[in-house]
């Protein structure tokens, strides 16, 4: 059932595709930054601060997406006892942590000129802060627990429990009063954002996805060799 996810598949991919992925990343990030910082129009209300959106929003999307994958991997690892899934999750965790931190910090820097404050304990910001803490907990447990099998079990539970926070983050702006604006892009409706702003946003998201994939492949290769060396 999980044949395609066998350790060799991604290990070989890490050896062969990183060079090409780096080329794609450099090409897309140059275009993305050019559009985001130079060619995209200023917002009529937020003026130039809207340019922070091109870093903030893709980082938030990626941090949520990565935790969703970690949760699914943890579930598969715990229920079906397929070890490689916990290695996928472990390799993804630092990437998700960094993107969630970028999301929170850039959000604060965007918040000050638009809301007049760096932070407010409302639904969206608090649930995003909880996501950062969950990532830190997940990451720390792997480092602190020396017994591999026990660490795997505990982190799988944290990964699954952390999934509860994902819909809370997504719907927090609808459930509670928030300084944060509602989503401009959803999967079910046409985006309410102009194409001149949507294009750089999607290109930056694509670049960050490619960078995440590069770092994931490097870290996955590390985890597999580490597992092999420690097993010996």
């Amino acid at each position: 059932m999980f044949g395609i996810f066998k350790p060799r598949t991604f290990f070989n991919l890490a050896s062969t595709s990183v060079f090409w992925l780096k080329l794609i990343f450099i090409f897309s990030i140059i275009i993305g930054l050019g559009l985001a910082l130079v060619f995209s129009p200023i917002d009529y209300l937020q003026k130039d601060t809207v340019r922070i959106m091109y870093v903030h929003v893709p980082s938030s999307w990626i941090s949520l997406l990565i935790f969703l994958i970690i949760g699914i991997c943890s579930f598969v690892s715990l229920i079906f006892r397929v070890k490689v899934f916990s290695i996928y999750a472990k390799s993804l965790a630092p990437i998700g942590l960094v993107f969630s931190l970028i999301s929170v910090v850039t959000g604060s820097l965007w918040g000050f000129p638009t809301w007049g404050t760096f932070w407010s304990w409302d639904g969206r910001l608090t649930s995003m802060f909880i996501l950062v803490l969950t990532y830190i907990l997940y990451f720390s447990l792997w480092s602190l627990i020396k017994d591999y099998n026990f660490a795997e079990k505990i982190t799988n539970i944290v990964g699954i429990l952390g999934l509860i926070n994902i819909p809370v983050i997504k719907f927090s702006v609808a459930w509670w009063n928030s300084l944060h604006q509602p989503a401009s892009i959803t999967l079910t409706a046409a985006p309410s954002i102009h194409s001149s702003m949507l294009a750089p946003l999607l290109i930056m998201f694509f670049s960050f996805c490619i960078l995440s994939l590069i770092i994931f492949l490097i870290r996955y290769k590390y985890e597999i060799i580490n597992f092999r060396v420690n097993k010996k």
């Binding site: 130039d48 340019r51 990437i95 910090v105 850039t106 820097l109 770092i215 490097i218 870290r219």
Partner: protein, 64 residues
């Protein structure tokens, strides 16, 4: 024109700080990952070398 671009309509500090923080975080994550991989590759290479040396020593010992 460059100072106007850097100033970003008076919001330059927030915008450049955001981009700088994101860049620094991602660059450090990338390099720390590469460094970790290189260190484990060295460890694995040393282990393989040690193992092959042990094999050749035991093979020599068997010959005598």
């Amino acid at each position: 024109m460059i100072s106007e671009f850097l100033n970003m309509g008076g919001y330059g500090l927030y915008i450049w700080l955001s981009y700088a923080f994101a860049s620094l975080s991602l660059v450090s994550l990338y390099y720390s990952s590469v460094k970790k991989l290189n260190s484990i590759k060295t460890a694995e290479y040393l282990y393989q070398t040690e193992k092959s040396e042990e094999v050749s020593i035991s093979a020599q010992a068997n010959r005598f």
